[in-house]
Chain length 223, copies 2
DNA sequence: CTGTTGCATATTGAATACAACAGACCCCTG
DNA sequence: CAGGGGTCTGTTGTATTCAATATGCAACAG
């Protein structure tokens, strides 16, 4: 097999997919924004075909809604949707954490610790929100990776992306991020000690708190 | 070819999507089968574009795996994958059942009862497996519909489709279906009584038993 | 004989071209 | 003035065409 390492040969569709996803999650394309295929195609100097295919995948991720002959619209952010997403995470993540911790090795513990430290240093350095988001996900990722459940993992990843859209809306992102850091620290510790009960409780609270914060902010925003 | 009832406002892509999905779930396209775009396009006398788009959606549903420049292959059926799927359901469905039962009205109870009866009559009539599959899903659907959680529901629907592929492999489908009927009866009763604890326990057992059956059959098949 | 290299073919990826639909606008009629 | 109908335009859906990649095979060097 030829080494494809180092060679960056992405397909146009996947490049567009990543770019559009970033724009939606970061809020460049807000909820309700209509993504016109031709506009995106022109912007990237490609045809509409890869755009269409990227949009289909974004729809599968729940980031856009496509109506026949009417096109793709960025999914709206609503309290009900936030509850839907965060509570699905609440059902899935602690469950998968159990599977992960049951099979975790010292190497997995190290990965969790490293992911925690990366988030910490990025936060103290005051790095950009998208960087912090990525590292936040990397931490949750590390917690669950040992479970080795591709499908469940994919579902959780999708939920995280959508959840991220809400988290980026936070008024006081700094407070939320600092709290997240503290939660992560405790989680990493419980993971290292293989204290499943504690870890699950912490994770549930972590997600539930995020849900409540998001809801509160949304309600305030509407008032 | 499906009968076009009334106006066929369906897009080619969605028609192809439904047909391919059926073929995969029913086993016409077995795990590992390579779906060639042009072959399907020729069969339906359409271009490859709708095929490609359908395949992308099937990938999002976890029914096929696409590799760049190598095409789409029907996802393999493995014990690990089955565990992954059924245990994700085990995490999600009882959780959502709680949300559903908390908001359920008498109309919802009726829908559950009707769904149960439909499955029962179809089973006694000895209808085709795909019909029974659809009614089985309709029952689970009815149990959870009142929750009104589109995203969680979409995830569960996808998991059901993949789970169905495994259930269709069952050696003794009749025994499995009869057991399912009994489970459903008890579930419908608990739902009607609003006995959440019992309903959740029954649902968990229902799913866990299905998982175990599937695993056992897979292992035997490999032996 | 073995391993590598280069070519031929099958298949997918993307661009271009054409068709169909939704929505807005205008005009018309009552 | 309200409402209907038709055209017109912008956008999406699909077909067709071209380009790029993977894979198998044959020729060849060692």
């Amino acid at each position: 097999m030829k080494s494809s390492i180092g060679i960056k040969r992405q397909t146009v569709t996947s490049s567009v997919l990543d770019l559009l996803r970033d724009r939606i999650i970061s809020g460049v394309y807000p909820g309700g924004y209509q993504i016109k295929q031709e506009a995106v195609a022109d912007e990237f100097s490609v045809s509409r075909i890869p755009i269409r295919e990227a949009l289909l995948q974004l729809e599968a991720e729940g980031l856009v809604v496509i109506h026949t002959h009417k096109g793709a619209v960025v999914a709206a952010l609503t309290p009900q949707d936030a509850i839907d997403i965060f509570e699905a995470r609440l059902a899935l993540e602690p469950f998968m954490l159990a599977k992960a911790m049951a099979k975790a090795t010292d190497a997995d513990t190290d990965r969790v610790r490293t992911a925690y430290l990366n988030y910490e240093t990025a936060l103290t350095k005051g790095e950009a929100p998208e960087r912090l988001s990525a590292l936040n996900w990397a931490f949750h990722n590390a917690l669950l990776a040992a479970a080795n459940r591709p499908r469940s993992f994919a579902l959780i990843a999708i939920l995280h992306n959508s959840a991220d859209r809400y988290l980026r809306l936070q008024i006081d992102t700094e407070a939320a991020q600092t709290k997240a850091l503290e939660d992560h620290r405790a989680l990493a510790e419980a993971f290292a000690k293989r204290d499943l009960t504690l870890a699950q409780r912490l994770l549930k609270k972590h997600i539930a708190d995020a849900r409540d914060d998001v809801i509160r902010n949304l309600k305030e925003g509407l008032a």
